[in-house]
């Protein structure tokens, strides 16, 4: 869909055109679901978050003024929704990787001999990955998913999260290193003595 076509669909959706809303659902619900799933790693929760986010989007659609990309606006809404949900789950304890100094700790490097996409049973891999992700604070998960999984630019992530570009970079580096270190024992060629 071109930018012009999208703008026309959004205007029709603002006026309550159900066909236009359905076009937005088919275009963006899979994106919102994928993002939500990658934050909470639970299919039911992600489907629920997609539904809640879409209801919120339709309520706020008149506030969208075309000054930013529509996808950026959607990511802002779904990110806030996922952060709110994660913060409401107070029983979970995330590992702290904050550092006010802004520097990133040196990372011990081990070679990952195995390609995790092909070397183990997918279900087993997924379990390890989900455990690692679960330990990561939602504020870091959002940055990692927006930048690395969704492939947005650092500037876009900065706009969506309302963080400075250096803060995004710092959190991204920490999130990557944290997940990498959590998964390293499974995928490394060798372990430290």
């Amino acid at each position: 869909m071109s930018k012009e076509e999208e703008a026309a669909i959004i205007e029709r959706a603002k006026a309550g055109d159900k066909q236009a809303i359905k076009v937005l659902v088919d275009e963006y619900a899979p994106v919102i679901f994928r993002f939500s799933y990658n934050i909470c790693r639970n299919q039911d929760k992600a489907e629920h978050a997609t539904q809640e986010t879409f209801l919120s989007i339709l309520k706020k659609l008149n506030q969208f003024d075309n000054r930013s990309k529509f996808s950026t606006w959607l990511y802002t809404i779904v990110s806030n929704h996922c952060l709110m949900l994660a913060r409401s789950e107070k029983t979970r304890r995330h590992q702290s990787i904050d550092d006010d100094e802004g520097s990133v700790p040196e990372i011990p490097v081990e070679h990952w001999e195995h390609d995790p996409e092909v070397s183990m049973e997918r279900a087993d891999l997924k379990e390890h990955l989900d455990e690692a992700i679960d330990k990561l604070a939602p504020e870091y998960k959002v940055i990692f998913v927006l930048r690395d999984i969704e492939g947005l630019s650092t500037e876009e992530v900065s706009n969506i999260t309302n963080l400075s570009v250096p803060a995004v970079k710092s959190r991204l580096h920490r999130a990557r290193s944290f997940l990498r270190n959590e998964l390293a024992p499974i995928f490394s060629e060798h372990t430290h003595d």
């Binding site: 659902v25 489907e47 990952w112 996409e117 997918r122 991204l172 580096h173």
Partner: protein, 84 residues
């Protein structure tokens, strides 16, 4: 990290910061070509990059698709019928 540093970068940490900023971006720039040159000479940075790449691939590969059933539930919740 090793001290195998390309002259354009002062430390492997700078290389990692640069990777952090540009991972997945257009690699067709002088700076990215310098980065590739560094990676070809520095096994530590190369391993780090490779593992991040694999981790992202795994993350993407283990996410399910938005199902037709979930789409229908969403359309129902928005009061939209298939033939609208």
């Amino acid at each position: 990290m090793t001290d195998r540093i390309d002259p354009h970068f002062h430390s492997c940490q700078q290389v990692l910061d640069y990777i952090c900023e540009h991972f997945g971006d257009d690699q067709d720039s002088d700076r990215c070509r310098e980065l590739e040159k560094h990676l070809s000479k520095c096994p530590d940075c190369s391993s780090y990059c490779d593992s991040i790449d694999k981790m992202i691939g795994l993350y993407r590969a283990t996410a399910p698709c938005f199902s037709g059933e979930a789409r229908q539930v969403l359309l129902d919740s928005l009061g939209i019928e298939e033939h609208d």
